[in-house]
């Protein structure tokens, strides 16, 4: 067969690098394999250099990037393994299966660490509901997450959902999974030794998803619908069996190393184990249980779901086989670990692939795309702002509460079983999701954030603010952050302006990770998120995991009794640039100064933690999307309680009521805690702005909206 590097997805320079490394021409199968393994999706060739900017270390970090997932210490000998991963391209083509297999894939990443998958979070960036295609994609994505997550028995405890036209044809599905693992029982993928067997457990291998990784490394085109064969089909029932089976095998101490089979299937999982362990590996294609007749290169690259690769000692094969049989799963020794450093595949007794294992996964030369600051930033017209009268405040607030990014998401999350495993302490729909580690009783807080509008305005500060928006609610609830995972969703890096934005965003995230000691322990990159209608906004999706002190319950974020004073901790006005207010009204587009002030964030963090731990407030809520009035409205809506703000007319500005950015929070403080609260916040901007009670949200003696009306708006009734 003629070898054509271009149809395999390689560039001319990559092809010559291959010939250089091999000192020969690659054969057809090798070319196909390298085409996939050197794709953006598998090789991170455009971003490897950028990702090295992330601070990765901390005393709480047990496992940083480089494994299937990161692990942080959750106390008492237990760790939390977690990672977020994108499944954007498949979800744009086949929303149900794309989202479902995204969930399945990230669960196996956690399982590969020897952890029991304990919770899921979903970051969804969806198109506008006014587009029927976007609405259909959104519906399919939610149903896919529900269909898979519910059956597999891992609760979906929260996430982030936002809507913009730029995602109409290119929705983002970022699935995050968290698992619990005993720290002395972590599985690695770098511990294989020559003579060990490579054991494949799970579904039979078929022709699905071949070269899916390469598909995810280019723009979606008009004929994308013909890409269906590159989308995998998920089977959550088999995944559930696979989880229990692998954990049972692991509990008996029979696993030397483990790797899930995601992108590029057998090739990536086996070559990665070999490369990381400093060994070689030989796979016999004829030993792989197949669903249909397939060529060796297809077997090597199939992305059939629900498969795991285990490395085990030969004498344990029978016991592993009988556990797999109990769980009704296929189990086959398909090869062995060697000492020659080569990834070899044989078929019918002859060698069809022989490549240095190191080269398969890590050999792709990095690509240094040119970077250019966008020259002429389009200046948006600004309607300007002034003092607001009550009727304008009323209309604006009603519009914000009805905005799909702010309004009630229960129609989505009630389709997810968010309670299975009986660990969900704070359910979806709140500023922090909290679950209990059953093994040690400790509570873990999780947040997910994205704010593409702010990243569009200033990618450095916007990405930093995104990260901080994920951190602040944890601090307010009383959880100290342990680590961060992220998914970098961007358009094509080949456009210099796009690449500059990506670079700046990574620097922004890295700055926060370093300044506030929240190391990046895992992550994923999804580039080429564009289609003929346009490209997505820069969308870094950040997930943060935090730990509560023993016996400390999370501070409430939406309860009021009618007997509290309301405090604003932080600057009175926030900035309007990139705010929901500016987007909805076209006013204040350039109002307020956006900044990243790590010292101020750190000061906010320690006071917020002290407030929660000292039980000095009954409710705390970060001021984020929609600003102060939106945060207060959410408290009113949930607690069915009104409040009055004591503000003088000159203070009643859009910046105060609707501004965003920076460390700002609303606190409800009962009388008995006033002194302690004020002492804690001494030295930081803090001001009493009102009190709870009544049945409306009022400013002074002017009613803005009755609680009943706010509830109707928020529920879009």
């Amino acid at each position: 067969m003629k070898t054509d590097f271009r149809s395999a997805g390689l560039t001319a320079s990559e092809y010559s690098a291959i010939r250089e490394l091999l000192q020969r021409e690659p054969n057809f199968a090798e070319l196909r394999i390298l085409g996939v393994m050197w794709s953006e999706h598998c090789s991170y060739k455009s971003t490897r250099r950028l990702l090295s900017l992330f601070p990765k270390d901390g005393e709480q970090v047990v496992q940083g990037p480089g494994e299937n997932a990161g692990i942080v210490d959750a106390g008492d000998g237990w760790g939390i393994a977690f990672k977020v991963e994108s499944h954007n391209h498949p979800s744009a083509v086949a929303p149900y299966q794309g989202a479902a297999t995204g969930v399945g894939g990230i669960i196996r990443d956690i399982l590969a660490m020897g952890a029991r998958p304990a919770a899921l979070m979903d970051g969804l960036c969806l198109g506008l509901k006014t587009s029927s295609r976007a609405a259909a994609l959104a519906d399919g994505i939610v149903k896919g997450i529900a269909g898979y997550g519910n059956a597999v028995g891992v609760p979906t405890i929260g996430g982030k959902t936002l809507y913009s036209e730029c995602y109409n044809g290119n929705p983002l599905v970022n699935a995050m999974c968290l698992g619990t693992v005993k720290l002395d029982n972590i599985v690695s993928s770098r511990t294989a030794l020559p003579g060990h067997l490579a054991v494949l457990i799970g579904s039979r291998t078929g022709r699905d998803g071949i070269a899916g990784a390469a598909f995810a490394s280019s723009e979606l085109s008009d004929d994308t619908r013909s890409s269906r064969p590159q989308v995998q089909i998920g089977d959550p029932f088999v995944e559930k069996l696979l989880i229990e089976c692998c954990l049972e095998i692991h509990s008996k101490g029979l696993i030397v190393a483990m790797q899930d089979m995601g992108a590029a299937g057998i090739t990536s999982s086996s070559s990665e184990i070999a490369a990381k362990s400093g060994t070689g590996i030989r796979i016999e294609a004829d030993l792989v249980p197949l669903r249909e007749k397939m060529e060796p290169w297809e077997i090597a690259l199939s992305e059939s779901q629900e498969r795991m690769l285990l490395i085990a000692e030969p004498e344990h094969l029978d016991e592993i086989g009988s556990i797999a049989a109990k769980w009704q799963l296929e189990c086959a020794a398909i090869g062995e670990v060697t000492d020659d450093g080569l990834f070899v595949m044989t078929s019918g007794g002859s060698t069809v692939v022989s490549l240095p294992a190191e080269m398969v996964g890590g050999g792709c030369p990095p690509v240094l795309w040119p970077s250019k600051r966008p020259s002429s930033e389009t200046t948006l017209p600004d309607g300007g702002t002034g003092p607001l009268d009550s009727s304008v405040i009323r209309e604006t607030l009603a519009a914000i509460l009805r905005d799909p990014g702010i309004s009630d998401k229960s129609a989505i999350y009630k389709q997810y079983d968010y309670m299975v495993q009986t660990g969900t302490v704070v359910p979806p729909g709140r500023s922090v999701s909290v679950f209990r580690v059953r093994q040690n009783g400790r509570l873990i807080g999780v947040t997910m954030e994205a704010d593409p509008w702010k990243c569009s305005i200033d990618p450095f500060k916007g990405a930093a603010e995104t990260f901080l928006k994920a951190l602040r609610p944890l601090w307010l609830s009383g959880a100290a952050h342990l680590g961060m995972t992220n998914c970098l969703n961007y358009p094509s890096p080949e456009n210099p302006e796009n690449f500059w934005v990506l670079e700046e965003s990574v620097k922004g995230l890295a700055a926060v990770a370093g300044d506030l000691s929240c190391p990046v322990v895992s992550g994923n990159v999804s580039l080429y998120n564009e289609n003929p209608e346009g490209k997505i906004m820069p969308t870094p999706m950040v997930g943060v995991v935090g730990l509560f002190e023993k016996n400390l319950l999370p501070l409430e974020d939406q309860s009021a009794s009618g007997r509290e004073d309301i405090f604003l901790a932080g600057d009175l006005p926030g900035a309007l640039e990139g705010s929901l207010f500016a987007r909805l009204t076209g006013n204040g587009v350039h109002e307020g100064r956006i900044s990243y002030d790590p010292a101020k964030e750190s000061s906010f963090m320690s006071r917020a933690l002290e407030t929660a731990r000292g039980d000095l407030a009954t409710c705390a809520r970060p001021i984020a999307g929609g600003g102060l009035l939106t945060a207060l409205s959410r408290i009113c809506i949930s607690s069915n309680m009104g409040l009055t703000l004591l503000l003088e007319p000159p203070e009643i500005t859009p910046g105060l009521l609707f501004g965003e950015w920076g460390p700002r929070a609303v606190y409800l403080v009962p009388e008995g805690s006033l002194n302690g609260f004020l002492e804690t916040w001494d030295g930081f901007p803090v001001k009493k702005i009102g009190f709870t009670g009544g049945s409306s949200l009022s400013i002074g003696d002017r009613e803005i909206l009755p609680v009943k009306k706010m509830q109707k708006c928020w529920r879009v009734e």
Binding site: A151, P236, F237, D417, M419
Partner: protein, 235 residues
């Protein structure tokens, strides 16, 4: 209380039930594999847990009802000892014939996970003796197929025989179709067999057995069972 929790391939609430019983009563429940032919010696309570047995790829519960262990479960029920089916376990019980009726797709045609309210209709069963009759429980549901259905004449029969144990209701205890999350006939959330020792229920008591999870209204169910079994052992 000697409890056997049956594990089918695809069960996913088995460990939750074990945990709830352990935290409620301090006793350890056994996990029993569906492929076994016998229940462990001395089993007093059998629980069929929630989940997606066999992926629910056929009718929910239909495959599990053919598992080897089911014959032992039927014998156990025949001996008068309690059998509890929760959610998917309820579906399995209807498929085995231990309980009448079927669970159809929710009228919303979507999966629903939420807290709901049910009213205790009977407190003369091994499962409910520590509840008050008419007591309202706040308890979670999580299912796609939870709409209890039975042909009209059979429905009348089980109503006459007083076999309804739980009905969906308002927080104040008013039973009305508008408070039924899934459209179950007569708002039925749980029923027993004629003898009263086999209970099938869609709500999850194991998810309402610890205050940190937002409700302890499921606790008396485990405590009732434990007390009933103690009384039986004494007599």
């Amino acid at each position: 209380m000697n409890t056997s929790v049956i594990v089918f391939p695809g069960s996913n609430c088995d460990l939750d039930v074990v945990h709830a019983i352990s935290s409620a009563l301090g006793t350890q429940a056994d996990l029993v594999w569906h492929d076994d032919n016998e229940l462990p010696q001395g089993t007093e309570l059998v629980v069929l847990p929630g989940g997606f047995s066999y992926g629910d790829y056929l009718r929910c519960g239909a495959m599990a009802a053919k598992s080897p262990i089911i014959r032992a479960v039927i014998e156990h029920a025949g001996s008068g000892l309690p059998v509890l089916g929760i959610c998917n376990g309820f579906q399995v019980l209807t498929e085995t014939g231990l309980l009448p009726g079927a669970l159809l797709a929710n009228r919303t045609l979507s999966f629903i996970c939420d807290f709901c309210h049910v009213r205790v209709e009977r407190n003369d069963t091994p499962f409910t003796s520590l509840y008050r009759k008419g007591q309202v429980l706040r308890i979670p549901i999580a299912h796609y197929e939870g709409m209890y259905f039975l042909p009209g004449d059979e429905l009348a029969k089980i109503e006459t025989a007083n076999r309804i144990v739980f009905r969906y209701c308002s927080p104040e205890g008013e039973v009305d179709d508008s408070f039924s999350p899934n459209g179950a006939l007569n708002c039925i959330a749980g029923i027993t067999n004629e003898a009263g020792n086999v209970l099938g229920m869609m709500p999850h008591p194991e998810r309402a057995s610890e205050s940190i999870l937002g409700s302890v209204d499921g606790l008396p169910l485990w405590q009732s069972l434990s007390r009933w079994l103690e009384g039986r052992n004494r007599s």
